[in-house]
Amino acid sequence: MTEQLPIIIILGPLLGATLAAFAAWFRPRLSHPLVVLGLVISSAAALKLVFIVADAGAQKYWLGGWGTKQGHGVVGIQITVDHLNTLLLAAVSGIALLTSVYTRRLVDTELAGRQRYFYALFSLLVTGLLGITITGDIFNLYVFMEIAALSSYALIAYGRGRAYMAAFNYLIMGTMGACLYLLGVGFIFAKSGTLNIDDVSAIIPALGQSQALFVGFVLILLGAWAKMAFFPFHGWLPNAYAHAPTASAAILAPLATKVAVYAMLRVMVTVYSIDYIIHSPGIQSLALYLSSLAIVIASFFSLTQTNLKKLASYFVLSEIGYMVGGAWLANKPGLTGAMYHVVADAAMTSALFMAIGCIVYRLGQTQLDDLKGVFFKMPVTMAAFVVTMAALIGVPPTCGFFSKWYLIQGAAQEGVWHFVAALLLSSLVKAIILFRIIEIGYNRVPHPAIKGNPAIPRNEAPLSMLIPTAAMALGLVALGLGTSTLVNTIIAKALPAGLAP
């Protein structure tokens, strides 16, 4: 049974999506429970695999049993769960499960009357994201990338109005990214004759210095950067996430970009190797400069925003800079920080967008000025919001502190001081924004505890939204406290051997 677990991770949401789409025709109320059921199965399998991988190492699975015949080489598609992706698989499926429960009420009010296919698309998006994470085949990765992308265009376009144009721009950028990736795969295939990641990584060192492989690497890198909205390609993201329905943003923002970062990490660490990256002329310092620029520019723009959802989208952009920078430091603490931050940031962004969703549900507004008195109206939501912001800033017991600690350590070791400065600047900006929100939400109304001031009635979001939000916020602290266990038992083993300490 346990050898089938890897495929069950994908099958859960895939079957959920198919059944939900059929159910939407004749019994629309069924589609939500079907999707939740699929995600429960998927996240249970992913969680079990974390323990299996920690105990017994990488688990490989050949689809349909193909590829195990000797003498024929690799025929089929392989899916792999190893130390690099097992945590992300658990995070993606777990966050998707919580979000699917959380978005129910939000969808009913925000998309009233047209929510029929929402959960089918939701589940299909999760299928794509899990597929990108689990696959051991570079062409299969492209297919899953497009499954995830197509469903996310539709999820964004649910927002109507400006969302259509935002989704169209995302589609153009996303397709360009996917096409560049595919072209890069073509170069690798022409040189190595295989698409299996394990095979490619065994063949590439034997080919020596090859221009075609280098071009392929650059194309894949550019494709992944366009998909994750890294600095020069970031234009589509803020509009897409701000104009999308809050329910769509709650699933897209935490997961879509993070999974693209994972794809980049996989190509850098496994397909090519860290050795290859260090010796590729110029890219390393270019990527590090771009990461710093991404962080600085996103931080600067987030200061000028008045819309809460757009503000959060700029946070997503700056976090992308953290991860790409950490990966390109290409030393032990840098890569550890990047791999840990992919998971941590998925959780942080999820908690952030959940808290914002609760505020939107009750206040119906997302402008900063509308937050007056919100701390009295929604104390639990705002407590979760403050914890999340603390994690984003990097306050010690939360997971945000540890990833930032690893990243700064790695940058200092390489002497990349501009990256250190950008990280600190980003924390500072987030602290400023947190205090600005506290000022608006707490101080701009007469304090209700003082006699003579009007009382502010409590008006929390419904429990089905509040519990996932609070759980995510507590999860950030739990993840922070469990950092050393995660890093020692899993992430440390995902690092390539022979890496400078």
């Binding site: 062409f139 497009e146 376009a157 259509y164 169209f168 096409c179 595919l182 295939f189």
Partner: protein, 126 residues
Amino acid sequence: MEKLIANFNYVIVVILMMIGLWSMLAQKNLIKKCIGMAIFQTGIILFFISIGAKDNALIPILTEAANHTYPVSDASKVANPLTQILMLTAIVVGVATLGVALALAQKIYQQHSSFDEDEILENERK
């Protein structure tokens, strides 16, 4: 120059991709962007097919499937089937993407009565 003529298919691939990329990024008309996207994808399809093609190649079908005695030494005379299969998938993906793009363009047109990006952005700012 001789190299270019011998590999003229790759030259066409590059030209196609440049046309596609240019019209995706520089054109203001949404439909022209969609067309550019399709051309870009066609370029990639041609690229993959070129990788797998060989002069005077046979179709990759096992003639004696029963006993699996396919002579390995003949692999050089058989076109690589994998690239063609990959491109079948890529064509499907491309059609789906184009469909979604056109649906979005239609929605935008219903809203703004225009396909021009500048006009739409100006409308949205109002």
